[in-house]
Symmetry: C2
Subunit: 149 residues, 2 copies
DNA sequence: TGATATCGTGAAGGTACTTCACGGTGCAGG
DNA sequence: CCTGCACCGTGAAGTACCTTCACGATATCA
């Protein structure tokens, strides 16, 4: 009984580790890091944002966002524009290059999904998704929150 | 078709994020970090080990292990003993306090498994585990490897 | 207008990683 | 025996991610 649950946790933990490794290495090949990429995705989803908004969305300190944006700006993936009404704030905006890169990455993500789940019959896949949804619900209740997607 | 697979990937990714957050915060409450704890677990599984063996097992550089062991030694969780036959090497050994702590953490892990998977009927749990096993197999083929459990 | 909150960033610090260089040691082979 | 090479662990230097605290500039509200 409990063994099966621990087995499930172990599987999930191992998936976590391997997936993290895969993400880190494939992003590194593109000259990116996980943290910076997360910011990029958020920008793509939300459009030009203040650094404060990004900090809240990612669940990190505002100071940290300054550093991440510094790196992304230096890589030419992001620009700092003046906020139209609030002169304290800056609007972080994706460059066309970043947009292209993100589109490419979305394709890569679909490819990964295909590789990982392609062999599973639809019913098992559905079972997996719904089981993970229940787990996610419990998990969300456990974790004090931090970001959104 | 592809949508369901991407949905599955998204679920797995989100579980990864939340679980990582949970681990990090609960370990921090115990004055530990993920990296150091991984080393501790490895020591518990393998017994006293040289730093080189730990580096290989964790998939990190030997230099990094030096730093991790430094921190753990300072926290009184680990000691450096001379290797009985090889004077170049040192044997990293768990202190009784670390053993107790690890036992406690194992209980915590069982509790987490219970909380996350307790509501799932056995058949769905089995389905989850076997699906994750298949995914893990594909994942292992994808990732250049690094550590063991 | 003046107190107060907010935006972004400098300064300082901690952890987790890396590579490179180097001293100490183990282990053959000549 | 002793020389050369491989291996162990660590100092030095560097990168990335993250934090808190302090501060100047700006917005806001009474």
């Amino acid at each position: 009984m409990a063994d099966a649950r621990i087995a499930a946790l172990d599987r999930v933990l191992e998936v976590t580790v391997l997936l993290g490794r895969d993400m880190t290495t494939s992003l590194a090949a593109a000259g990116l890091t996980v943290a910076r990429t997360t910011l990029l995705w958020r920008l793509r989803a939300a459009g030009p944002s203040t650094q404060r908004a990004l900090a809240d969305a990612l669940g990190v300190s505002a100071r940290n966002v300054t550093g991440l944006v510094d790196g992304l700006a230096e890589a030419g993936l992001v620009t700092r524009e003046p906020h139209p009404t609030d002169r304290r704030a800056t609007l972080v905006t994706l460059t066309p290059r970043a947009e292209a890169l993100l589109t490419e990455m979305a394709a890569g993500r679909a490819g990964l999904a295909e590789q990982l789940f392609g062999g599973l019959p639809p019913e098992r896949l559905d079972g997996l998704v719904s089981a993970l949804d229940e787990v996610l619900e419990r998990l969300r209740a456990l974790v004090p929150d931090g970001a959104a997607s």
